[in-house]
């Protein structure tokens, strides 16, 4: 027994060393693995005419701040089988699957060969009254070494606001010249709609131009009293946008736009019309740039990072406009006429960035929002102001459900009631 005892002791020791070594390697491997999760965003399908929204699937780091090149697919592969993915559209508890016309891999890092995103082009046009969710097949997007998939953090439902913005954008730049007829209550009756849309993107010295005109007529071709039109509504909006630059510190962008509508009854006896022109310009200038930089440098400098580099504040926005409201009924309490000239100034001054508050784990931002508007009623010959100054504190990285505190001073007469306001208002927003 004595002879075996030392051998057994050595074997146990070796075994323990082996287990410890394995645990060390495993721990090191786990520690070196970066957890990533999948997110879905909305993008544009490249080269599609008319432009369509596509779903972009990406791997992000744990904060969701950075999109990573982590999709490891065979070299040269630029497409994937559509059956690996599903797009589900839901409206009022009813879910249907949306077909996929193409799956495209992009953002391939030339050094590593790993891709950063996969775009799914849907067969159907996306709509804002649906919610969309993407399902990704297991092992559809293999990860590069050094990364692990944290599926619990996957965010595969499309953000509604993001979808809405993208669809607004797509709508705006989709050319259209078409007539459509929607049938009404009986045969021969319905709505006739004509749409003209023109979009010219800015490129080089070319200005961005956008024109949209619609005419909608409710018609009844089998009307007994031979009044074939019930009503006609015409709308026109147009804008031209351009950037301008005097010097590096004095530059900006502006647009001039027009919005108008006209509506008539079937006898063309009552015609209502509204029309307005608007000029909006961002004016980057040395004064607001100085204030932006100095205030943030004092309140928010952290270590080597200057405060003003924590946020690129928006240059002040100046607005001028004129509105005409024809044949619009107005009661005496509104005391307003048909023509108004408007001028406005809007500026979001960042006051502090990335600061901490007691009881909260996350950091906060604070802003002063200055929104001044003066309106001159040319019929009534009176000036009105409609102004608001707001101090706003909110969580820095939170999305719409984050905590926020606002304190605002409002003064003037705001539409639609035109009742005088002169008040300090406070509000808290919290998710629960």
């Amino acid at each position: 027994m004595k002879l075996f005892a030392p051998r057994l002791s050595i074997s146990i020791k070796r075994g323990l060393y082996f287990v410890v070594a394995v645990l060390c390697v495993a721990t090191r491997t786990l520690a070196a693995t970066t957890p990533v999760h999948l997110e879905v965003h909305i993008g544009d399908a490249v080269n599609s005419k008319p432009p369509v929204a596509s779903f972009r699937i990406v791997y992000c780091d744990s904060d969701g701040d950075t999109q990573l090149d982590t999709i490891a697919l065979p070299k040269g592969q630029t497409t994937l089988d559509a059956s690996l993915f599903r797009i589900l559209a839901t409206k009022k508890d009813q879910t249907e699957e949306v077909g996929i016309t193409a799956v495209r891999i992009s953002g391939i890092n030339p050094k590593t060969g790993y891709a950063s995103e996969v775009d799914l082009t849907p067969k159907a046009t996306l709509k804002t009254d649906f919610t969309y969710r993407v399902e990704v097949g297991e092992a559809a997007l293999p990860l590069a070494p050094g990364f692990s998939h944290d599926a619990k953090k996957d965010a595969l439902e499309v953000n509604a606001k993001e979808l809405s913005s993208e669809l607004d954008y797509l709508h705006m730049r989709t050319l259209q010249n078409k007539v459509s007829f929607k049938e009404g209550e009986h045969l021969g009756a319905g709505s006739l709609l004509y749409t003209y849309r023109f979009y010219q993107p800015s490129a080089g010295d070319t200005r961005m131009r956008f024109v949209e005109a619609t005419v909608k007529a409710d018609v009844d071709f089998v009307s007994k009293d031979k009044s074939y039109f019930n009503s006609i509504v015409g709308q026109l909006s147009a804008l031209e946008l351009q950037t301008w630059k005097v010097s590096r510190s004095f530059q900006g962008a502006y647009y001039i736009g027009f919005d108008g509508s006209i509506e008539s009854d079937k006898d063309f006896e009552t015609i209502d019309g509204t029309g307005g022109v608007v000029f909006k310009a961002h004016v980057k200038n040395p004064i607001t740039t100085f204030l932006h930089d100095k205030i943030l440098d004092v309140t928010s400098t952290q270590g080597d990072t200057a405060g003003h580099l924590l946020d690129a504040g928006i240059a002040p926005l100046f607005t001028l406009g004129y509105d005409y409201l024809g044949h619009i009924k107005h009661s005496s309490d509104t005391n307003s006429g048909h023509q108004r000239a408007k001028g406005g100034f809007t500026w979001d001054l960042p006051v502090a960035r990335n600061f901490r508050l007691p009881l909260f784990d996350s950091t906060f931002d604070a802003d002063v929002l200055i929104d001044l508007e003066a309106i001159y009623d040319t019929d009534m010959r009176v000036f009105r102001d409609n102004s608001k100054i707001t101090f706003d504190t909110h969580q820095r990285k939170a999305k719409e459900d984050g905590f926020a505190f606002t304190l605002s001073y409002e003064h003037g007469k705001a539409t639609p009631t035109f009742k005088n306001v002169d008040a300090v208002l406070a509000g808290i927003k919290a998710a629960f």
């Binding site: 993008g43 596509s54 950075t66 992009s106 800015s202 690129a312 504040g313």
Partner: protein, 95 residues
């Protein structure tokens, strides 16, 4: 995308943003760290489209295509010039 130089991409993004911001974004390591999420979220969608158009047209002038959607860089995430450049590069294909 790969042939599109990162420095050129930074220049494109900074030029586009400099028309709308209170600071001067430099296409340098320091400039690229500036957070621009609030700029994007606070802009009228028409101006947002202008930034997007400028970026995409500059990419196209370089002979490439970009699938960077206007909302792809406008919402949801904590954006720096660096991350917009990364998104731009990730969404760009050059022949």
């Amino acid at each position: 995308m790969s042939e599109l130089d990162r420095q050129v991409a930074r220049q494109i993004v900074c030029d586009a943003f400099n028309h709308f911001t209170d600071i001067d974004l430099e296409p340098t390591a320091e400039g690229e760290s500036v957070v621009i999420q609030k700029t994007l979220q606070g802009l009228d969608i028409k101006f947002l489209i202008a930034i997007h158009d400028q970026i995409v047209s500059a990419v196209k002038e370089a002979g490439c295509d970009s699938s960077l959607g206007v909302s792809g860089f406008a919402t949801a995430r904590y954006k720096t010039v660096k991350s917009v450049v990364n998104d731009l590069i990730a969404s760009t294909n050059c022949p």
